[in-house]
C-alpha cells in the first residue's frame, strides 16, 4: 500500500507537502478500500481478498498471480496479525457474522476442521481438488480434510528438527533417553549442556506432546476424532515429557519459553541441543555466524530405539470462504498462490517448506535449504495434531493440564486428560481461561 501512496503523490512536492499529501492519500485509501472490497471492484474485475499471516515476500507471489490472471481477478493481500490466536479470532468473528469481504483465508493446519464443521469454508471439488491432491505430501493433505472432503489447499508445511552443536556432540542422539543422557554427561564435564525447546503453556507445548505421543505409537483421540483415547503410547509420552522436565537438562525458563526465546537461548551459546522449526537456521547464520558453523541438524529424536520419530506437522492451508462473492475466482487464486513455482519461490525467499513433494528435488533448493532431506524425511511420516472441529478446546485443555511438565504424574494425568478432553470434544464443560 505504501508504494501506491508514493506513486499518487508524485515527485515534485516538497517533503513537507508530500508528507501531508501522503497522509491525505492514505486516509482516502483507507476510506475507499473497504468500499471497493464491498463492491467487488469497480472495473468489473473481482477483487479477491486474501487474509493471510504476515509473510515477507508473499506480495511478489500475488503480483505474479494477478499478472497471470489477466484481469479475471485481482488478489489483495490483507495481512493478518502475527499471533495465531489473534488471526483466528479475527477470522472467526467476521465469519460468524457472515462477512462477505473475505475470500481466501490462510488457516493454520489445526483450524481447517473447525471452519469446515462450522460451515464457513467451501469444499474443493472437481479439477481444483484433483490439482491440490496431485503430488502433495500426505501429512499436510490429511490436515486439510474433513469428513472425506477436501476443505483447503496446503500452501506450506513445517516440521521441527533437532539442532545440535557439532563441537560438543559427535553423533546426534536418536532417542530422548540418549539425548538426556548426553546432556547430563556434558553437564558433568562443565560444558554447555542444555536441551532447549518450547515448554510454555501454549500450542507449542501441545505440539511437543503430540510429537512424543506419535513417536511412541500412541493416540490422543480415536481415528474419527470423536473420542479421547490416551492409550499406552500417550502415557509413555507423558513419562518422557516428565522425565525430560525433571532431568536437570532444561533451561531455567523452559516453562516460559516460546519459539523465539528458545532460538535466542541457543544462539547465545547456552544449549547443546535445540528442538525448533527451521526458521532458526537463517537467523542463526545472521545473528551468530561463528556459532552457525558448529551447528548441525538431524531428525527429531524418537521415543523408542529403532523407532524413528513422528513429528508434528505445522503450516498453512488456503480455504475459500462460504461468504465470498466470487468463489470460482477465489479457488483459482488460491491454486495460483500455492502452485509449484510459487511454493518454490516462498521456500527459497521466506523459508517456508513446500507441500508439493517434487519441489524438494529441485537443484535451487539445495543451496537455500541444506536441511531439506531431513525435513522431507520427517514430513513423509509426519504426525498431524488431532483432527477435530473441537481442536481449539482440546488444545486448551492439553496445554493447561500439561503445564508445568515437571508436575505430570503419567497415569493419573492421562486419566484426567481422558475425561477433560472428552468433555472438550463434546463442547461440554468450561474452557479454562
Amino acid at each position: 500500500m505504501g508504494r501506491r501512496v508514493e506513486r499518487t503523490t508524485g515527485g515534485r512536492a516538497g517533503p513537507r507537502r508530500r508528507g501531508r499529501r501522503m497522509v491525505a492519500a492514505a486516509a482516502a485509501l483507507g476510506v475507499l478500500l473497504p468500499l471497493a472490497a464491498c463492491g467487488g471492484g469497480d472495473g468489473g474485475v473481482p477483487t479477491i481478498n486474501l487474509y493471510y499471516p504476515p509473510e515477507q515476500n508473499l506480495q511478489t507471489v500475488i503480483d505474479n498471480c494477478n499478472e497471470q490472471a489477466q484481469g479475471r481477478y485481482r488478489i489483495e493481500y490483507r495481512v493478518l496479525p502475527r499471533g495465531a490466536d489473534d488471526q483466528r479470532v479475527q477470522m472467526v468473528r467476521r465469519l460468524a457474522a457472515g462477512d462477505r469481504g473475505m475470500d481466501v483465508l490462510g488457516l493454520d493446519v489445526t483450524w481447517t476442521q473447525e471452519f469446515a464443521s462450522a460451515d464457513w469454508i467451501l469444499p474443493w471439488t472437481g479439477d481444483a481438488r484433483a490439482e491440490v491432491e496431485r503430488g502433495t505430501l500426505a501429512g499436510p493433505l490429511e490436515s486439510a480434510r474433513y469428513e472425506d472432503e477436501l476443505f483447503a489447499a496446503p500452501k506450506n508445511t513445517n516440521v521441527q528438527l533437532l539442532w545440535y552443536r557439532t563441537d560438543l556432540v559427535e553423533q546426534p542422539p536418536e532417542t530422548w533417553d540418549d539425548m538426556i543422557a548426553a546432556a547430563q554427561r556434558l553437564k558433568e564435564r562443565g560444558q554447555p549442556y542444555q536441551v532447549l525447546t518450547m515448554g510454555a503453556q501454549y500450542e507449542g507445548l501441545v505440539a511437543f506432546y503430540n510429537t512424543l505421543v506419535a513417536s511412541a505409537g500412541g493416540q490422543i483421540l480415536n481415528e474419527d476424532g470423536t473420542e479421547a483415547v490416551f492409550d499406552e503410547g500417550a502415557v509413555r509420552a507423558l513419562e518422557v515429557l516428565q522425565r525430560f522436565a525433571t532431568a536437570g537438562v532444561t533451561s531455567a525458563s523452559f516453562t516460559n519459553a516460546l519459539e523465539d526465546d528458545v532460538r535466542l537461548a541457543f544462539q547465545s551459546g547456552n544449549g547443546a541441543f535445540q528442538l525448533n522449526w527451521p526458521f532458526v537456521y537463517p537467523a542463526l547464520q545472521e545473528g551468530a555466524p561463528e556459532l552457525a558453523d558448529k551447528v548441525g541438524w538431524a531428525r527429531y529424536p524418537g521415543v523408542d530405539a529403532g523407532q524413528p520419530s513422528r513429528v508434528t506437522i505445522g503450516g498453512v492451508n488456503l480455504a475459500v470462504s462460504r461468504y465470498s462473492d466470487h468463489p470460482d475466482e477465489a479457488f483459482e487464486a488460491a491454486l495460483c498462490i500455492r502452485n509449484a513455482e510459487n511454493q518454490k519461490f516462498s521456500a527459497i525467499n521466506d523459508g517456508v517448506p513446500p507441500t508439493i513433494e517434487s519441489i524438494y528435488a529441485d537443484p535451487e533448493m539445495t543451496e537455500a535449504y541444506p536441511m531439506k532431506d531431513e525435513i522431507l524425511a520427517e514430513l513423509r511420516d509426519g504426525a498431524t495434531r488431532p483432527l477435530t472441529p473441537a481442536y481449539q478446546n482440546v488444545s486448551t485443555v492439553l496445554s493447561v493440564t500439561l503445564s508445568p511438565p515437571s508436575a505430570i504424574r503419567p497415569q493419573e494425568t492421562a486419566d484426567q486428560l481422558r475425561r477433560s478432553v472428552q468433555d472438550a470434544l463434546e463442547s461440554k464443560g468450561v474452557l479454562p481461561g
Binding site: V92, P389, N393, T396, S427, G433
Partner: protein
C-alpha cells in the same frame, strides 16, 4: 446501616405509588404535559431498548441453549443445563475468586489513596489546575496502552521494574502476577475515585469544620466526625461505581497475563469461551452470571447501604 428514614422495601414503594394514584386526579393540562413528556422520552427509550435490552435478552436466550458455532447442527434448547455446567466448574470458581480478590483489594486501596488524593486536590491553593491535571493523567491514558507499559516494565531483560525488584519473571507466577494486575488497576483508577470523592468534599461546609475546630476537635476528629458523615453519599456512590467496574476487570489481565497461571477474571473466562471456544451457550451463561453478580452488588449498595444515584434523592423525586 439501614438507619435511613426512607422506606426500603418493595412493599413500601408500592403503597406509596398506589396512594399517589388515588390522591392525584390529574388536570387536563397536567395530562397533556405528561403525555408530551413520554413522547419526548420515547426516542431515547427506544434506542435504549434496541442497544441494551435486546442484547441482554438475546444472551439470556442463548444461555438456555446448547449452541457451539463449531457444531451448528447440534443447536438445541437445554434449559438451565449450561448454568449447572458453569456453576459446578472449578475454572469458573477460580476465576470468580480471583475477580473477587481483585475487586475487594483494589477498591479498598483506591478508597484510601483516592481520599488522600482528593484532599490534596481540594486543599491545594498554589497551582491547583496543575495538581489536578497531573493527578488525573493515569486515568486519561488508555487502559490497554498503560497495561502494555506495565507488561514491558515487568518483563525480565527489557523491563526496569523486573530488573529492580525481581530475579525471575514475576508475570509468570500466580501471586506476583495478581499483585501486578492489582497494582496496574489501582494506579489507573485511583484518580477516578479521587475525582468522585472530591465532589463529595466540596459538599462539606467550611463553617462546620471551623466550628468543630473551635470546639477543639483534632484534625482526625474533624475528618471522621464531620467530613465522613457529610461525604457518605458521595463515598458510597464512588464505591459502587468502582466495585461494579472492578468486578468486570478485563483489559489489564488480557494484556498482562492473558489469564495464564490461573489469573483469569470471570470476564476473561467468558471471553475465552465465547471468542476462542466459540461456545455461545456457555459463554452467554457466564455473561448472564456476571450481569447477575453486578446486579446483586448494585442491589446491596443501593438497598442495604442506602446509596442513592446522583439526582435521585428523596427531595428530587416527584
Amino acid at each position: 446501616m439501614s438507619h435511613r428514614a426512607e422506606p426500603t422495601t418493595e412493599g413500601g414503594l408500592a403503597d406509596r405509588k398506589a396512594g399517589r394514584r388515588v390522591k392525584a386526579p390529574l388536570s387536563e393540562g397536567k395530562k397533556a404535559e405528561r403525555r408530551l413528556g413520554w413522547l419526548l422520552c420515547a426516542p431515547a427509550a427506544l434506542v435504549m431498548v434496541a442497544v441494551t435490552a435486546y442484547p441482554i435478552f438475546y444472551s439470556v436466550w442463548l444461555s438456555l441453549q446448547r449452541f457451539d458455532l463449531k457444531f451448528p447442527d447440534q443447536r438445541e434448547f437445554i434449559g438451565l443445563e449450561n448454568y449447572v455446567t458453569v456453576l459446578t466448574n472449578e475454572f469458573w470458581w477460580t476465576a470468580f475468586g480471583v475477580t473477587m480478590l481483585i475487586t475487594v483489594v483494589t477498591v479498598a486501596v483506591e478508597l484510601v489513596l483516592g481520599m488522600g488524593l482528593a484532599i490534596i486536590m481540594h486543599r491545594t491553593i498554589v497551582g491547583r489546575g496543575l495538581v489536578r491535571t497531573s493527578a488525573l493523567i493515569p486515568y486519561g491514558i488508555v487502559t490497554v496502552v498503560a497495561a502494555f507499559s506495565w507488561r514491558y516494565a515487568w518483563t525480565p531483560d527489557t523491563g526496569y521494574l523486573a530488573n529492580l525488584f525481581s530475579d525471575g519473571a514475576p508475570l509468570t507466577e500466580r501471586a506476583s502476577a495478581l499483585g501486578i494486575i492489582m497494582l496496574a488497576e489501582i494506579w489507573k483508577t485511583t484518580p477516578f475515585m479521587a475525582l468522585l470523592l472530591m465532589a463529595g468534599l466540596a459538599l462539606v461546609p467550611e463553617d462546620l469544620l471551623k466550628a468543630a475546630s473551635m470546639d477543639g476537635a483534632s484534625g482526625w476528629q474533624r475528618f471522621t466526625k464531620v467530613m465522613l458523615p457529610v461525604m457518605k453519599p458521595a463515598i458510597l456512590v464512588a464505591l459502587l461505581f468502582r466495585t461494579l467496574d472492578a468486578f468486570r476487570v478485563f483489559d489489564n489481565i488480557y494484556v498482562l497475563t492473558a489469564g495464564a497461571n490461573q489469573t483469569s477474571s470471570v470476564s476473561m473466562l467468558a471471553y475465552n469461551n465465547l471468542m476462542k471456544g466459540l461456545n455461545l451457550g456457555i459463554g452467554s451463561t457466564m455473561s448472564v452470571l456476571i450481569f447477575l453478580t453486578v446486579a446483586v452488588i448494585a442491589f446491596i449498595f443501593v438497598k442495604l447501604f442506602g446509596t442513592a444515584a446522583p439526582g435521585s434523592s428523596d427531595e428530587g423525586r416527584r
